[in-house]
Amino acid sequence: MKPAPFDYVRAATLAEAHDVLAAEASDAAVLAGGQSLVPLLSMRMARPKVLLDIMHIAELGGIRVENGAIRVGACVRQAELLAWPELATHQPLLAQAVPWIGHWQTRARGTVCGSIALADPSAELPLCLLALGGEVTLSSKQGRRGMKADEFFTGLMSTARRDDELIEAASFPCRRPGEGFAFREFARRHGDFAIVACAAIAMDNSVRLAVGGVADRPIVREFDGAGDEALAAFAKELDARDDLHATADYRRNLVRRLGRIAIDEARRCRV
């Protein structure tokens, strides 16, 4: 359980990071908090030639509200977002979901954008970004581009990020008047990977439900009524997977049960 050899570069500026990625492309891996990448290195599931540490790039720090969204820089750790005093006011869904990510001891190091970059199908932050219709800011030597979450997540642990790009920030839309939010997750133990996670956003005439842990990426659906039948039809359509934790049918059943609870709670929480 020791990583294979790699070079290590600690970038001090964004421009330096772009240079490394432009030169190394797929031979480089971006290291932020390392809470997923380091075990992948140790298990030798990842074998980059160069590790690019971005945690000392001052431009990538900070949480701020910008254009109606919470912009979270690439160096912001999950614990820092959770401790941000304005989180529950600006986006209750994140305030509810972030405590479900791993444990205190991993949230202290793991970053928000790192989890989004990894795109684990059972992870909470990709689910929230998709549910809220958020976006990521990608940048490289070629320039900068924004990309909506539904275009960004392309499959199991895969995203539309090019090898020469890094995520500069993730933007989660702030709550708007009339919206209500709820988050529900089922796992064997708190802190385990979600078997199913549901994020619900209730609006004036509709409700949006996003589910994680079921398919190869988080899936979102907007409903007008969201009665039990519509929810059951949605669960049935999901490309659910079997694994040693749960069967596909069990996951679909959880979507019906947790989805119902989350939708009803989100409606009650509308303000």
Binding site: P3, P5, R10, Q35, V38, K49, Q105, R109
Partner: protein, 169 residues
Amino acid sequence: MPRLSADAGHAVRLTVNGRAMEGEAEPRMLLTDFLRHKLGLTGTHVGCEHGVCGACTIQIDGAPARACLTLAVQADGAHIRTVEGLAPEPGRLSVLQEAFRRHHALQCGFCTAGILMSLDWYLRQTPEPSEAELREFLSGHICRCTGYVPIVAAALDAAKRLRETGEGK
């Protein structure tokens, strides 16, 4: 922007338990191995080596974290606290350590260093935790001996004594 090459050792300088320390590490060396093999601080234990068991938990820049999920080169310049830094002086245990002894909160002791480092931090943040909060917090640690009951009892007792003595700050 220096590039540290894979096949050479590089100086890593950090502060451990208030003392400036230095050792050599290849980029791939985990902080657990650096602490144990390069600095001789074997109180930090290596369990699963992929972030699940919590045995290697230390405090990095004031927050509990897995040493096995951190590279030594990442920790260059960091302030680190390990279990060796808990006792106020040789021959005297901290309030938390004393509570672990009183409640028999360990049997084999393999997980203990990590749990102590987590709880040391948590009880300073949360001086009056409920049992449910403590259990949720401890979900980041695996103990296969105790069944957790004496660990929770020791933590509650330590929290009470720290409140009474004001030593928790």
